[in-house]
């Protein structure tokens, strides 16, 4: 591999491999069969990943349009553009669709599905039929909820807090809840499939500490799917029973407790943040070494940090309830535990930075997204510590500061990682190269647009603008207009890839098996891979991230 000395430039110009002639090889997973049935009844994890990719892209568009409406309404302070009710329904569509139908399945269901078997050298996931079933369950639930929130309208926000959702809202809450409950089963089954696959399907020689970090983070994510999702399922079942039959668990009139719902909800939904974040960290941990041509710094620490994050995240849910009448002792404990999340997060960020140090860097689109991700994730993470600080939380809880904070994590983190991963593995998935200049331009648009949209919201929050406000005092208008203006740049940044990536499907240059000179088993097979992934049993290298420039393997005496 003599790529370290090549000048930067077009991806193919430095490609040392001859692209394999795709036309003569119609038996890759995309072309092996072409009937509609072969797509909708496929059990190939790669095709199922594409089914997910298409569905979540559609959901992303719906959620983004709703966000556009929200930002449009907030251009004026007095609610002249939209009634309060319409605004509330718009932000509920945005939250419900983005969280439950885009962010949670985003990276695991697409790249996780596509790559885990490839990365561990397996022919498929352990339960291919279950994998397809998961997609159908996902679509059924999504359809239920989409009909409810888009056609019917729901005004509870994505958090469905009782008793607003159980007794007071007159909107289509019930079908929305049923849909979200159904989607939970899809998450559980996907997580189950990943856990079993990673445990049992690794190729000979693929030991745990030879797994790419992407697989580690998906393992951690799957554990959260398995352990946290049933709790939200229960909470939603109780909420459904409460709304339909007045069971009383969350109703103070019968001795129930509305805050109990918040506990059950956040016991899932805080770990759900790591369902969204951990896979993104996995993507970044693949991109950074590939574009630095250097071994990932501190591999074991980064792997353990994934498990650490997945564990500590189960013990911090109470930080959503500091001002909700929780006992002081509980608040102190949850605050302290929340600070501990900083440790594994810092491990990741510093190790990525150290990987770049003395590497041989190419600033192609995936790397631009990865660098953007690091910056935004750091800001999002540290502002999370502001929120975990009890006295500060008393001020900025439920304000735009929170909105800005979690968008830095969800959009700056998950969406950037998703797009980075999409560009990184696009040649592998489709066998085509996208337009590199357009890729860089839209990465820049997204980075700038994102910051213009969401940075003003930190200030708005600290000034005291509460979230979910259809109208607001006039002194907040300038920052809101700035934020709305930024969202148009962001929207353009999202539109470009949809166009040039689709264009590349037919007109892009053919990709070689390994256009980035990356390491990892997925690059050992053809692009796109054959239906059963590998021609024979893949040879597992002795060390993960076997790049030309080697950093020390830290914290261990192994090599």
């Amino acid at each position: 591999m003599s790529s370290a000395g090549t000048l930067h430039g077009d991806a193919a110009a430095r490609d040392p491999h001859t692209p394999l002639p795709t036309l003569d090889r119609p038996d890759d997973y995309l072309h092996a069969q072409s009937t509609l049935r072969s797509w909708f009844l496929t059990t190939d994890h790669k095709r199922i990943a594409l089914l997910y990719l298409a569905s979540i892209t559609a959901f992303f568009v719906i959620g983004a349009v709703a966000a556009g409406f929200v930002r449009l309404a907030l251009v004026v302070p007095d609610g002249a553009i939209m009634t309060n009710d319409t605004y509330n329904k718009a932000f509920t569509i945005h939250g419900v669709v983005m969280v439950w139908f885009f962010l949670i399945p985003s990276i695991p269901a697409t790249f996780g599905n596509f790559l885990i078997p490839l990365m561990i050298g397996a022919k498929d996931l352990a339960f291919p039929k279950l994998n397809l079933t998961s997609w159908y369950i996902f679509m059924t639930g999504a359809l239920f909820t989409l009909v409810a929130v888009v056609l019917g309208g729901v005004d509870t926000g994505w958090t469905f807090y009782a008793p607003l959702s159980t007794a007071f809202s007159n909107t289509w809450v019930l079908p929305a809840l049923i849909g979200v409950t159904i989607v939970g089963f899809s998450s559980i089954l996907t997580g189950l499939n990943f856990v079993v696959t990673i445990h049992t399907m690794r190729a000979p020689g693929m030991t745990w500490f030879r797994l790419p970090i992407f697989v580690w983070t998906h393992y951690a994510t799957s554990l959260i799917f398995l352990l946290a999702t049933p709790v939200i399922t229960l909470a939603l079942i109780l909420l459904i029973a409460e709304r339909a039959f007045h069971v009383g668990v969350f109703d103070p009139a019968y001795g129930g407790d509305p805050v109990l719902f918040q506990h059950l909800f956040w016991f899932y939904s805080h770990p759900a943040v790591y369902i969204m974040v951990l896979p993104g960290m996995g993507v970044i941990s693949e991109i950074v070494p590939a574009f630095a041509q250097k071994k990932l710094f501190g591999y074991r620490f980064v792997a353990y940090a994934a498990i650490g994050l997945a564990s500590v995240t189960f013990f911090v849910w109470g930080h959503h309830m500091f001002v909700n009448g929780q006992s002081d002792l509980a608040s102190l404990a949850f605050s302290a535990l929340s600070f501990a999340v900083a440790v594994p997060s810092a491990v990741k960020v510093y190790n990525w930075t150290a990987t770049i140090h003395k590497g041989s860097l190419r600033l192609d689109t995936p790397m631009l997204y990865a660098m953007g991700y690091i910056g935004l994730f750091v800001l999002g993470g540290l502002t999370g510590l502001y929120l975990a600080t009890l006295a500060i939380n008393q001020h900025i809880h439920a304000t735009y500061f929170v909105v800005a904070h979690f968008h830095y994590i969800m959009v700056g983190g998950t969406v950037l990682a998703f797009l980075g991963g999409l560009h990184f593995w696009w040649p592998k998935i489709t066998g085509r190269m996208y337009s590199e200049p357009w890729g860089r331009i839209s990465a820049l648009f997204i980075f700038i647009g994102f910051n213009v949209t969401f940075f003003p919201q930190f200030i708005l929050g600290y000034l005291g603008m509460p979230r979910r406000y259809a109208t607001y005092p006039p002194e907040f208008q300038l920052l809101n207009v700035l934020s709305s203006a930024g969202s148009t740049i962001l929207a353009a940044g999202y539109l470009f890839p949809m166009v040039y990536l689709v264009y590349s499907l037919w007109f892009g240059r053919r990709a070689s098996a390994n256009p980035w000179d990356a390491k990892g088993l997925e690059w050992e097979t053809a692009s796109p891979p054959p239906p059963h992934n590998f021609a024979g049993v893949p040879q597992v290298p002795k060390v993960p991230y076997d790049y030309p420039i080697q950093a020390p393997e830290t914290g261990s005496h192994h090599t």
Binding site: G157, V349, H395, G464
Partner: protein, 338 residues
């Protein structure tokens, strides 16, 4: 009212606790910058310095990496823990009111705040309080979860339907500041706001004794008119429900079903709110259960009597405000203040 510029960059602080909260956040921001700026600079520098094709020393050091890992795990963490301690101290202090604090009872409902002063006066959505006096706000909700947010004091606390929560503060700067509901509570969440007016002790006593609360009664009455759902039917805001308009009702003659004619005075309006099935109105005899065609309704055909009784639902002081508002409804009818 407030002189608010279109762009404020720092919120006013009206208590020592608020100032200290600002210190915590400023200190935390300094620490954040210390932790992040080097990383951002390093990433940018490395990206340029070690770009592919650049001549650079790429030899790696095999030693010390364990130490590096441990130090960047623990040093930032320990530094941030300082702010955990500081924030916790301030938070705990805000939970334990001094014994001499004056107690204000607050109630949230969709979509209004009601504050009751220790001397008995109450006000809607606005809150007048003295400075240099510890104030304890005991708060509850009549329906969904709300939260009272006082940005100038850097405080908020949830209003829960099943219990009372509380918060205390000692303001030290007079002025008018915003107060909000910060827990999403349904359609009009964003208009469940008002003003927090902090005044000197003398001004506060003056305000209490000279019925300062009266000044905002019309606005308060309007809030109640909406919060108890009157507007939904009588102003036609809810589709499919038709109820007589109450504009200009006060002082007009009302024809009843039994042939009598009454003048719609305060007592009539009050009785009608508490017991809508009494004094059935004329002009809509066919409606089952009688009809209600007060004011100009009589010419319009029938209104089905579907209004629930508000006896035991609306407290006396709120009823006074509501009646007061209806008395003046012809004057404030269109473009009514919130």
């Amino acid at each position: 009212m407030k002189a608010q510029s279109a762009l404020a960059l720092w919120p006013p602080a009206a208590s020592a606790t608020a100032v200290e909260t600002d210190h915590i956040i400023l200190g935390f921001t300094v620490l954040t910058l210390l932790l992040t700026v080097p990383v951002f600079l390093a990433i940018t520098y490395f990206a340029l310095r070690y770009r592919q094709g650049e001549q650079a020393d790429r030899s790696t050091d095999e030693r010390r990496s364990f130490l590096i890992e441990i130090s960047w795990m623990l040093i930032p963490y320990v530094l941030t823990l300082f702010f955990f301690g500081w924030g916790a101290k301030l938070f705990i202090a805000s939970r334990h009111p001094p014994p001499d604090a004056m107690v204000v009872e607050a109630v949230g409902r969709q979509w209004m705040w009601k504050f009751q002063h220790p001397t008995g006066q109450s006000e809607i959505n606005d809150l007048h309080l003295p400075v240099d006096q510890p104030v304890r706000i005991r708060i509850t909700s009549q329906d969904v979860i709300h939260a009272l947010y006082l940005p100038a004091l850097r405080l908020q606390i949830a209003a829960l339907p099943d219990r009372t929560t509380e918060i205390w503060f000692k303001a030290d700067r007079t002025g008018t500041y915003r107060l909000y509901c910060s827990e999403y509570c349904g359609t009009d969440h964003s208009v469940m706001d008002g003003n927090l007016t902090l005044m000197t002790q003398a001004e506060y006593q003056e305000w209490l004794t000279h019925g300062g609360a009266q000044q905002s009664n019309l606005a308060a009455g309007r809030v109640i008119y909406e919060a108890y759902g009157c507007a939904g039917c009588h102003d036609g805001a809810v589709a499919g429900v038709k109820a007589p308009s109450l504009v200009g009702l006060y002082g007009r003659p009302v024809h009843l079903a039994d042939g009598r004619t009454l003048t719609a005075d305060a007592d009539y309006i009050r009785a009608k709110i508490l017991n809508p099935n009494e004094n059935r109105l004329a002009g809509d005899g066919e409606g089952e259960g009688g009809g209600q065609g007060g004011g100009k309704g009589s010419g319009k055909g029938g209104y089905k009597q579907v209004m629930p009784s508000f006896r035991g639902v609306i407290p006396a002081d709120d009823l006074d405000r509501l009646v007061g508002y209806l008395k003046a409804y012809d004057r404030v009818a269109e473009g009514a203040p919130r």
